[in-house]
Symmetry: C2
Subunit: 120 residues, 2 copies
């Protein structure tokens, strides 16, 4: 009986810590999942990842056309794409940088790794 009690207390502490957002990474993870939790945004993310990888392998051009490609491929307005990109950046899944006219987006691979670790 006492044993059960002790375990319940441990549980309480654990959850209280979560609920009080003592754990920063918890909040961040929720943010990441939220960002990936829209089908269109997941599309966008995968597209950029795929694009980046393909470009890399073929060494023929940069990744800075991601935005306009997205507009062409997905049936969404520019403003919507811009909005979604911002969400992905905000979750730290993408790092974007202006290059002249174009926006260059890259996937944050470290975070991808963190996510895998999270699920262990």
């Amino acid at each position: 009986m006492n044993k059960n009690f002790a375990i319940e207390n441990k549980l309480f502490t654990f959850v209280r810590k979560l609920s009080n957002n003592m754990t920063n990474s918890h909040q961040n993870m929720a943010k990441v999942f939220k960002a990936l939790g829209s089908e269109q945004r997941l599309n966008l993310f995968k597209m950029i990842y795929y694009w980046e990888k393909t470009m890399d392998v073929n060494m023929c051009c940069g990744v800075e056309k991601a935005f306009s490609k997205a507009c062409d491929c997905m049936n969404l307005s520019r403003s919507t794409i811009s909005h979604h990109l911002k969400e992905l950046q905000n979750a730290n899944l993408l790092v974007c940088e202006r290059k002249g006219q174009m926006l260059s987006c890259q996937v944050n691979k470290e975070l991808l790794n963190d996510i895998k670790i999270f699920f262990d």
Copy 2:
């Protein structure tokens, strides 16, 4: 030039496939992330996972108290917890089963593994 063109076409095909939801797993993944994309729901999920694991290790009692524990630990009403649990089940992250009065919830470990694979 021609090379770039071919690559762009590949990209188009890739994204169109995503957008048309030809890939079932893509849709499912978005659902999973959406479910985990709320802080409270992530709390709940982690709590159940932690609870399950602790109980397992200590072999002292079952996991069927998850619901009431959740109500105690998190500051949410029963109906809200019920709602969130349903979302998690819907995303296939939890498998719940009634045991008498109680609801027994278990984490779907296979899916956790699928998620890790997804990030490779």
